[in-house]
C-alpha cells in the first residue's frame, strides 16, 4: 500500500476508540466492548432476548439471541492482511450461531440475523421453550406484552412436533405478598433471580430441580417481600411472575400508557400510568438512567387507588353561611365569590399553605396570587422521612426543590402560621393541595374557628370538611406540569386521564382566581391557556429556569441545578459500570 492511499476504516474507527461491524450487510461503528445484542438493537436490527437485561449481569441461558457471526480469516504466520476495495477484509462466516448477549463486537466482525442459520436457531430455541409451556395465553395477564408470544409470532414455527405429556409444575404460587409465580409459564431466564441478588441484594429466589423440572422457587419460609419485588413482574419476559394487584383486572392491549413521573417522594421516579377511559389500572417504571434506572418501589407503584377513589371531590363546594352545610356549586359563581372574599381579607390576617405536591406552575400561580393580595405568610408543608437507600428519598414531597426555586420556601415558617392560627392572629387561610390536619398538625378545632377557609384539593379530608369553599383539583394522573426532584432535575407530568367529574387542573383554578381577583393586573401567567404557557412565563422570570421549556425537558427531564443530593441506587449503578 502506498502512503497516498486513504486510511483504512479500521484505523479511522480505532482513532475514535471504535470498531467496524457489519450488520446484515451494512457497516456501522460501535465503541469497543459493546455487546452484539446492544449494537444490533441500537441500529434497528432487532435481536430477541429473554434472559439479557441491560441492567443485570449476563446469563446467556435462553439462547434466544443467537446470531450468525463472522470474522476475517486468521492469518498464517508472516502473512499480510488483504483489504477489499471498500477497505474491509472479507468476512468468513462461522458455521454455528453465537449468543449476542455474552459476546462483544470486534474489528471487521460480521453479524447476520436474517440468514438461515439464525432463523433455524431461533425456531429451534422456541420449540424447546414451548415444549413445557402451558400455552394458557387466553387467561394469562402477560398476553399482549409477552416476549414468548411475540417471538413465537415473529420467529417461531407455526406447527409443533412435541406430542409427549407436558411436565407439571407449580401454578399460582403466592411467592410474595404482591407477586404470584407460575412455574409452568417460566422460561428460566433467571432475570428475577439476578434482579433480587444484584439490585436488591436479597437472594431469596433461586432455581431448583434439574432439566425439565427446573423451576424458580423461594426457600420455604421466605417470601419475595422486598419493597422492590414487583420489579420482577416487569422484567419477567413471560407471565411467570404476575402482579397480584393487576391480575385479571384488564387486558393490557386495552390500556393506554402515559409517560409521567411518580409523586410519592422527591426522587421523581419516571413511570408509565396505564389507563383505560377514566380509570387507572397500574403503574410501571419507565427507564431513566439518571433517576430510577428501570426500577421503582412497590409502595409507590401501588399508591394509585386514590385517583379513582369514592372520596374524590368532583364539584366545587361552598357554604352560603358560616353555619350552613357545604353545598355543591357551579365554578363561575364560586370563583367570583372566592375572589370577592379574598379581596376583603386583610393581608396581615391571611395565610397561604401550599403543597409541595403541586407542580412548579401551580406554585408559581399561587405565589402570584399571594403577592397580589399582599399576603406574606405563605409556606409549604415539609415532609421529611426515612429514605430507603435505594430510590425512596428522605424528602417525601415530590416538589420541595420546585418550591424552593419558585417560591423560595422550605417549610421553615409553617410554625409561625400554625401559631398564628392558634392565637387567632390569622383569620383567613388558603390551603392548596394539603390536608393541614395531617403533617402540618393544625387541629380541626382551630380550622373551624377561622373566619374564612379556602381549600383546593382532590380528595375529601378533614381540612376540606372544615372549609368554607372547596375547589376540586386533580391528582398527578390528570395534570400537566413540571416538578424538580431532589437532585435538581426538572421533569414533566403528563395527563393520563381527564380531570374526573367537575374537577379542574389546579393551575387552571389558580389562573382563574388570579384573573378574577386582580383583573388585567397579574400579567401573562393568569392568561395562560396551558400549563406549558405558565412554564414559559416562569422561565422568563426565574433564573434557575432560564431556557427551560416543555420541549427542552422532554420525557427524560433536564438537570437545572446542582443540589448536591444524589439517588443512592443510581450512584451504585454508575459505580459498578
Amino acid at each position: 500500500m502506498s502512503p497516498e492511499q486513504p486510511i483504512l476504516p479500521k484505523d479511522a474507527a480505532a482513532a475514535e476508540g471504535k470498531v467496524n461491524v457489519q450488520i446484515n450487510g451494512t457497516w456501522y461503528r460501535f465503541p469497543k466492548g459493546t455487546r452484539i445484542a446492544d449494537a444490533c438493537n441500537s441500529v434497528g436490527v432487532h435481536v430477541p432476548c429473554f434472559c439479557y437485561h441491560t441492567k443485570l449481569s449476563v446469563a446467556g441461558s435462553c439462547r434466544m439471541c443467537l446470531v450468525e457471526q463472522g470474522m476475517p480469516p486468521r492469518l498464517a504466520p508472516g502473512a499480510i492482511p488483504t483489504y477489499n476495495e471498500d477497505g474491509y477484509q472479507t468476512i468468513q462466516w462461522m458455521p454455528r450461531a453465537v449468543v449476542a448477549c455474552a459476546n462483544t463486537v470486534a474489528e471487521n466482525m460480521g453479524i447476520r440475523t436474517n440468514g438461515t442459520v439464525c432463523t433455524q436457531a431461533r425456531r429451534a430455541v422456541l420449540e424447546f421453550l414451548l415444549t413445557n409451556h402451558p400455552l394458557d395465553c387466553p387467561i394469562c395477564d402477560q398476553a399482549g406484552e409477552c416476549k414468548l408470544q411475540e417471538y413465537t409470532a415473529d420467529y417461531g414455527s407455526p406447527t409443533h412436533r412435541f406430542t409427549e405429556a407436558k411436565i407439571k409444575k407449580g401454578k399460582h404460587i403466592e411467592i410474595g405478598p404482591r407477586v404470584n409465580l407460575d412455574q409452568e409459564r417460566c422460561v428460566l431466564c433467571r432475570r428475577c433471580v439476578r434482579f433480587m441478588k444484584e439490585v436488591v441484594g436479597e437472594e431469596v429466589l433461586g432455581v431448583v430441580g434439574r432439566g425439565g423440572h427446573n423451576a424458580i422457587a423461594c426457600y420455604p419460609g421466605k417470601t419475595l417481600d422486598s419493597n422492590y419485588s414487583m420489579n420482577v413482574v416487569d422484567i419477567c419476559p413471560v407471565g411467570a411472575m404476575t402482579s397480584r394487584d393487576f391480575r385479571f383486572r384488564m387486558r393490557v392491549w386495552f390500556l393506554k400508557s402515559t409517560p409521567t413521573i411518580d409523586v410519592n417522594c422527591g426522587t421523581g421516579t419516571n413511570i408509565y400510568v396505564w389507563s383505560r377511559e377514566q380509570q387507572v389500572y397500574r403503574i410501571t417504571p419507565r427507564q431513566n438512567d439518571d433517576v430510577n434506572s428501570c426500577w421503582m418501589p412497590d409502595s409507590h407503584r401501588l399508591n394509585y387507588r386514590y385517583i379513582n377513589s369514592e372520596s374524590r371531590l368532583l364539584t366545587p363546594l361552598m357554604k352560603t353561611d358560616a353555619q350552613a352545610p357545604q353545598r355543591a356549586a357551579a365554578w363561575e359563581p364560586v370563583v367570583k365569590a372566592v375572589a370577592e372574599q379574598l379581596r376583603l381579607c386583610s393581608p396581615e390576617q391571611t395565610a397561604f399553605i401550599v403543597s409541595a405536591r403541586l407542580t412548579n406552575e401551580e406554585l408559581f400561580l399561587a405565589g402570584n396570587l399571594a403577592q397580589l393580595l399582599g399576603v406574606e405568610a405563605l409556606d409549604i408543608v415539609p415532609r421529611r422521612g426515612e429514605g430507603d437507600g435505594m430510590l425512596i428519598s428522605s424528602d417525601h414531597n415530590p416538589n420541595s426543590m420546585g418550591a424552593q426555586i419558585v417560591l423560595h420556601k422550605d417549610g421553615s415558617t409553617l410554625d409561625d402560621i400554625r401559631r398564628g392560627i392558634k392565637l387567632g392572629k390569622i383569620r383567613n387561610l388558603v390551603v392548596l393541595g394539603e390536608d393541614v390536619t395531617a403533617e402540618a398538625a393544625i387541629p380541626s378545632e382551630h380550622l373551624v374557628k377561622l373566619d374564612y377557609l379556602l381549600v383546593m384539593d382532590h380528595t375529601e379530608s378533614a381540612t376540606t370538611r372544615a372549609a368554607d369553599v372547596v375547589l376540586p383539583g386533580v391528582t398527578f394522573a390528570e395534570r400537566y406540569g413540571t416538578m424538580v426532584n431532589v437532585a435538581g432535575r426538572i421533569q414533566r407530568l403528563n395527563r393520563a386521564i381527564d380531570p374526573l367529574g367537575g374537577a379542574k387542573a389546579d393551575w387552571e383554578i389558580l389562573a382563574a382566581l388570579l384573573r378574577e381577583c386582580c383583573g388585567d393586573l397579574p400579567g401573562a401567567a393568569a392568561h395562560a391557556t396551558s400549563a406549558q404557557e405558565v412554564l414559559n412565563v416562569m422561565a422568563a422570570q426565574i433564573e434557575e429556569l432560564g431556557g427551560v421549556s416543555w420541549a427542552s425537558i422532554g420525557n427524560q427531564g433536564q438537570q437545572i441545578i446542582d443540589t448536591g443530593v444524589s439517588i443512592p441506587l443510581i450512584d451504585r449503578e454508575k459505580a459498578n459500570k
Binding site: K169, I173, L205, G206, R210, C218, Y219, P220
Partner: protein, 193 residues
C-alpha cells in the same frame, strides 16, 4: 402466607427413611463448623460460595443425606443462601434428600451395563433386599428396605463399561456381577452387620 406446592415443600421437608437409625442425626457442632471452615479457606476471599459442594459431600458422608435442617447451616458456612444450596442439592442426583440404608447399592443402568444384564440384576437385588422395583420412581429414585439395612438406586455410568454389569455397594465397585456373585457379596455385607 406462602402456598407451598409439593415441589417447593420438598425443599424443606425430610422424607422419613428406615435407614436413619444407622446414621447420626445432623447437629451443627463447632467441630463440624471447623471442618466446613477448612473447605471454605481453600478458596480465595469473596469466593466462599465455591466450598458449597465439598461441604455438601462432607455432610452427606457423615449424616447419610442432606436434611432440611442442614441446608441453612451449609448456606451459612459458605456465605451463600438457603435457596442457592437447595438449588444445588436438588440439581445433582448424587446428592440425597433421603437417608439411605446402612449399605447403599448402586446398580448401573447405562446402556452397556443394562444390556449385559444390569436390568435383570436390579430386579434380582430388589427381591433379595426386600424392596419393590416400583418404589424407585423419578421423584424418589432410591428405595430403602424396611429394616434400614439396604437401599438401592439405579445410577448412570460407573465408568467401568467394559466389565458390565457394574454394581457399587457404598464405595466398593463390583464388576461383571451375576446373580450368584451378588448373592455372595450381599451375604458378606450381611455378616459384617
Amino acid at each position: 402466607m406462602i402456598e407451598l406446592t409439593d415441589d417447593i415443600c420438598a425443599l424443606a421437608k425430610d422424607v422419613p427413611s428406615p435407614g436413619e437409625k444407622f446414621y447420626p442425626v445432623f447437629e451443627p457442632t463447632p467441630e463440624l463448623a471447623a471442618e466446613a471452615h477448612g473447605y471454605v479457606t481453600m478458596y480465595p476471599e469473596g469466593r466462599e460460595q465455591s466450598a458449597v459442594l465439598p461441604i455438601i459431600h462432607m455432610v452427606q458422608e457423615k449424616f447419610g443425606f442432606i436434611s432440611a435442617r442442614s441446608i441453612p447451616w451449609i448456606a451459612e458456612m459458605c456465605k451463600s443462601t438457603p435457596i442457592h444450596v437447595a438449588g444445588i442439592v436438588s440439581f445433582y442426583p448424587g446428592i440425597r434428600r433421603k437417608c439411605p440404608g446402612k449399605w447403599h447399592i448402586r446398580v448401573c443402568h447405562t446402556i452397556a451395563c443394562a444390556m449385559s444384564g444390569g436390568e435383570d440384576l436390579l430386579k434380582f437385588i430388589c427381591g433379595k433386599i426386600g424392596v419393590k422395583p416400583e418404589e424407585m420412581t423419578e421423584a424418589e429414585p432410591m428405595a430403602v428396605s424396611a429394616d434400614g439395612l439396604w437401599s438401592i438406586e439405579a445410577v448412570e455410568c460407573l465408568a467401568h463399561c467394559g466389565f458390565g454389569p457394574n454394581v457399587m455397594v457404598n464405595d466398593t465397585l463390583y464388576s461383571q456381577v451375576t446373580p450368584e456373585k451378588i448373592d455372595e457379596v450381599l451375604e458378606d455385607y450381611r455378616r459384617r452387620d
